[in-house]
């Protein structure tokens, strides 16, 4: 059982990384990764949201929707759940770190539209995960997202001060770097 959970973690963090392999959640990935401190804050917020949202969505689906035969409403209800969790997270972030709140700006409420979050919730249902497995899967997805976000932001900080030709400066070189990272992560294929 431990190996099951370990391989699930490995899969969601590296092999099927949500950002670089499944190409979900690219909006905050490109938008918040210009500084490492911001990236760390964002990844903590997303981890919180993802874990809580995947647990809550699992409960809502198996507790309310399935008994009533309303499985077709899962997309809408998951979005509702995610929106609530994100709103809650925003309040917590605003209280604990106003600077982080200001720096994240609009990207904090935009976690609602982060396809990775909705994706994890829906995938849990598709794969018929148990409650603990959904939680673990959500946590693994968040961990993979955080890893990639922090790595990418560290690279972008260095690219920002480097001798980049004018035509490539800004988002262009960032996209190229992200593409190369994605190629690198393909190397994990088949591991789990």
């Amino acid at each position: 059982m431990i190996t099951e959970y370990a391989s699930l973690l490995l899969a969601s963090v590296l092999v099927n990384n949500f950002v670089l392999v499944q190409f979900l959640g690219l909006c905050p990935f490109m938008g918040v990764s210009s500084k490492v401190e911001t990236a760390i804050g964002m990844s903590m917020a997303t981890t919180f949201v993802l874990t809580l949202a995947s647990a809550t969505s699992h409960l809502v689906f198996y507790g309310i929707l399935e008994p009533l035969g309303l499985e077709y409403l899962r997309t809408i209800s998951f979005i509702l759940v995610i929106a609530v969790v994100v709103q809650f997270t925003e309040m917590v972030v605003r209280k604990s770190s106003p600077l982080l709140h200001r720096v994240l700006g609009v990207f904090l409420p935009l976690i609602t539209t982060n396809c990775a979050v909705l994706g994890v919730a829906l995938l849990n249902i598709n794969k018929a995960h148990s409650f603990v497995t959904s939680l673990w899967y959500g946590f693994g997805a968040a961990l993979g997202f955080s890893l990639v976000l922090i790595l990418f932001s560290a690279m972008r900080e260095r690219i920002a001060v480097a001798d980049v030709p004018q035509i490539f400066q800004g988002p262009a070189i960032a996209m190229i770097a992200a593409g190369l990272m994605s190629l690198a992560f393909l190397g994990f294929a088949g591991l789990a």
Binding site: K35, S77, L80, V84, Q87, F88, P98, R102, A162, Q166
Partner: protein, 200 residues
């Protein structure tokens, strides 16, 4: 249709489910919004710490703190001439916005100056003392006024009130104590960038 059928109807169930969920979550969020209420805006303190505190009013606000509060509300960060490019960049870093060039409407970046009263012409009217935002002018009514150079921020506010126009703003030049090396220029330019006039 009777009551039982009404409740077994999918549409009814959907509506009820969502009402219930929405209600529950709404209550939760309502409680959270009270529990996690934030008073004021601590970001203002951090913005204020980056401003030069000359209280000169060139940004069209009556002091540095009001401008900091305005920036927290979303005002442009490029209105402070005494702060100059340096302050604009630091504010941009703090707030995560793009740095803009200094707004010419509010003044240009000038070298630091210090006020100096020509004592022979001073009539002791205390108008400049009342104008100085940091109390850097020493004096009293009908007695000599003089500027404490170390405390003077160069804000210029004393020059206008003086009825005999005896205040000069003298530029602070570098001396051997404040001199330092300048960064090397014009090196490591890639050939194509030289033509566009912008080094990477």
């Amino acid at each position: 249709m009777n009551m039982a059928e009404f409740f077994l109807n999918d549409l009814t169930q959907t509506v009820l489910v969502f009402l219930a969920l929405g209600g529950l979550f709404g209550l939760l969020l309502g409680y959270a919004s009270i529990r996690f209420k934030v008073e004021g805006d601590p970001i203002v303190e951090q913005i204020n710490a980056l401003l030069p505190q000359t209280q000169c009013g060139q940004c069209s606000h009556p002091g540095c703190r009001p401008y900091a509060e305005a920036i927290a509300q979303g005002e442009a960060i490029n209105k402070c001439p005494p702060g100059g490019e340096d302050t604009i960049h630091r504010l941009a870093d703090l707030l995560g916005v793009d740095p803009q060039p200094l707004d010419g409407e509010h003044g240009i970046e000038k070298p630091k100056t210090v006020a100096f009263i020509r004592e022979a012409e001073c009539i002791g009217c205390t108008k400049c003392i009342q104008a100085c935002p940091v109390d850097a002018i020493l004096g009293a009514a009908k007695l000599m006024h003089t500027v404490i150079a170390q405390e003077c921020t160069g804000c210029d506010l004393c020059v206008e009130p003086c009825p005999v126009d005896c205040i000069d703003m003298i530029e602070v030049t570098t001396n051997i104590k404040t001199w330092g090396w300048e960064a090397p220029q014009n090196d490591g330019i890639i050939a194509t960038d030289r033509m566009s006039g912008k080094a990477a």
